[in-house]
Symmetry: C2
Subunit: 355 residues, 2 copies
């Protein structure tokens, strides 16, 4: 597949070099190991670290900056960062007030981040962690649901809380609350092709075929169908999105007091009529801005028909899957507190918000 | 081609409905005729109106708001808006301080905007106009060069000038200066498919083939070649971009004093070593954010090798061509004054900038 690239092996690094050069007032790139830091780390506050495989840009490096992340840890495309990278990131991030670690729920990421959290805690860094698992279309498995677009919302909301001075436990509790509340469903109109696979796409779609419930690494979705008008397609996605009245699962969270992993139960509550919500339409990388708004129009109509109260909206390409044409829908119940944090300023390379 | 759409004929309208619903605090949509207005039009200032065919989003409707446009006039996909639409837009925009009309240099747009400007002027509205023709890869013809990504820079810079209170002639002179200074070159890795063409793309590329110097409506480019690494491709684009030492052409500008069209000569000056510049890498709609930064890295290196002084940078998808995979490079010479205007706040649906 034709793309803007030099050597496949250099793709992630060259992207980051371009990002740093374009936004040198916001971010700083460290090599060996590769991490992206917020340029101004003078403020004493809880630090936010996130990371994972590349290929989902602007997540995570594009969200480093005031009001969001302090350090991003980029792996190769669709590949977890190494424990060494993560450990250096945690050490660099900590300003003495502790670090919140935001991980998308994938086996490799969880394993490497858990290992690194344990080692950093042994070095005396106060840590809490949250796994984001908002993909309502991903089947149940030992690993649980996947983390997708909701990750950006955790980064935005918790970034704002840390910036205003909330302490580590408060920011971590907020992260769990947002992660528990988020539900997302994606759809692919085309697959994507990791640079290193020699032009082989992660799956095949016949002409006219689309796949509902797709993941951001080309993971198999819920089902395939023929293309359909967006109003019909979004209604089908919303059936998955609203299918479960309430969803309970167990996640692990690093307890900084006992220095151990604690199981915690997480409940996604039903979306009753009258619930205040944020709606997010997220492009998968190759979807034009205009089409995302057409999707939003359908999505909003269906949410209003369920009597959800739309308090905030995000439409854009935030958590992508290389050049995939597709999008995801996310609903997050919000209250005044979450709205205040969503409205707070963010100054990152690829997300600027507020006054 | 699969895309997020209901009926092809409804695409532009449904996009605008979604945009208004998602950003109702910023924009207001009027139907019959279709125009997009800045929600808050209370401030007395020079108004900015721009428009053209849809399919280039976020241009223009996504740039309506504080610090950029007051009214956008959207045609159907790749089709000029009608004179009636434009006349209503000019009337709605004017707050008594006059209107700057920003037009991309295409025969249909120029014809309809010129007609509307004459009629609005007869109604007593003070008007000035600027045609943007920054596409250095488009061949010479009676119509001159095409307007592409530089249009966004004219809207940003002149929007900031109007917001701080510059008068109509000052804003118009600035518009001509920016339009004269901009030079752009695009490349397509894939074609695009207007919804109304029944799945027919605007041109065909064989696998592995790319086209340099492409326009934003699929106009033929400068030449085709096989795919090449981005460093090599960008060097080839820069040859076109820097090819002319200086470029002189004639554009028409509405003179509000004499109420006639005046020819004016416009000169794009050579980019001598030491020139202060803004660099822009613009995605064509289907290009992932990560790849744009890989392009920026190559572009920046070549500009630095020519001893251009990079003062400002924009990387993103601003002036697109539906779902085309591709990008364009733009250079604009800047001074402190232009940097101040570029740094000024913008609060639109799809471009937020500054404090």
């Amino acid at each position: 597949m034709e793309r803007f690239i030099n050597e496949p092996e250099a793709f992630a690094r060259e992207y980051l070099e371009g990002l740093e050069q374009a936004h040198s007032e916001v971010v700083e790139l460290r090599r060996d190991p590769l991490i992206v830091l917020r340029r101004d780390r003078s403020k004493k506050k809880v630090a936010l670290v996130s990371g994972g495989g590349s290929g989902h840009e602007p997540l995570h490096a594009g969200f480093v900056g005031e009001g969001m992340l302090d350090v991003a840890v980029p792996g190769e495309v669709f590949t977890s960062p190494t424990p060494i990278q993560i450990q250096v990131a945690l050490r660099e991030a900590d300003r003495g007030d502790g670090v919140l670690v935001i991980v998308k729920n994938y086996a490799g990421d969880i394993m490497n981040f858990e290992m690194s959290v344990e080692m950093a805690a042994a070095d005396g860094i106060a840590l809490r962690s949250v796994a984001v698992d908002d993909d309502f279309a991903s089947g149940e498995s030992d690993q649980g649901r996947r983390g997708v677009a909701g990750t950006m919302l955790v980064e935005k909301i918790c970034g704002a809380a840390a910036e205003r001075g909330d302490d580590l436990d408060a920011v971590a509790e907020l992260a769990h609350r947002v992660a528990a509340g988020c539900r997302s469903v994606g759809v692919a109109l085309s697959p994507c092709t990791p640079p290193a696979l020699g032009g082989k796409s992660v799956f095949q779609l016949a002409p006219g075929e689309i796949e509902l419930g797709i993941g951001i690494h080309g993971e198999r979705g819920h089902h395939r169908s023929l293309w359909k008008p967006t109003d019909v397609l979004v209604a089908e996605m919303c059936e998955l999105l609203f299918s479960e009245a309430s969803y309970v699962r167990t996640t692990r969270d690093w307890d900084r007091v006992s220095s151990t992993w604690e199981d915690r139960e997480r409940t996604t509550s039903p979306l009753d009529a009258g619930t205040n919500v944020l709606l997010m339409v997220n492009g998968m990388g190759g979807t034009p801005n205009s089409e995302l708004y057409v999707v939003y129009r359908s999505f909003r109509k269906l949410c209003e028909a369920r009597d959800l109260k739309i308090r905030r909206t995000l439409v854009g390409s935030y958590v992508t899957s290389l050049e995939m044409r597709g999008c995801s829908l996310t609903v997050l119940p919000v209250d005044d507190e979450l709205c205040t944090l969503l409205d707070a300023p963010a100054r990152t390379a690829d997300y600027v918000h507020g006054r």
